[in-house]
Subunit: 84 residues, 2 copies
Amino acid sequence: MDLITLTGYLAGTLTTVSFIPQVLRTWKLRETKDFSLIMLLLFAAGMLLWTAYGIWINSFPIIAANVITFGLVLFLVGMKIRYQ
Amino acid sequence: MDLITLTGYLAGTLTTVSFIPQVLRTWKLRETKDFSLIMLLLFAAGMLLWTAYGIWINSFPIIAANVITFGLVLFLVGMKIRYQ
């Protein structure tokens, strides 16, 4: 694997993994008041488009990172709707 | 501009713009308890790497989106440290 792809994977791992402590915190606190629902929805929509972009430019790091993060953000959207 | 680049710009606009209602909400509420600091820091670090990746693969949408979002997330990090 070349350094460029490795950087992409590392970047994707960081931005994706970052949502795990957030999901755990939200699950524990059951509080989402500080989150903006519009932010979560726009961010999720953006990630769907990033996935399409990743498919088009044939970048697996972009596809993988966005698909997984999309799932984690969708969980936060659910928690926000339920516990706001 | 081709459809691929347009999708990249639209994706970048959505994921970047999404942080604006969040920054406004955090600025208004002055509350960041629900945010995970580790999440914000890992996410910011990931965006620096995405920027490097964008420079390498010569993708302006990736560079622009990550530089701007990095600034907005840095603001949230500052608010989290000050108001947690």
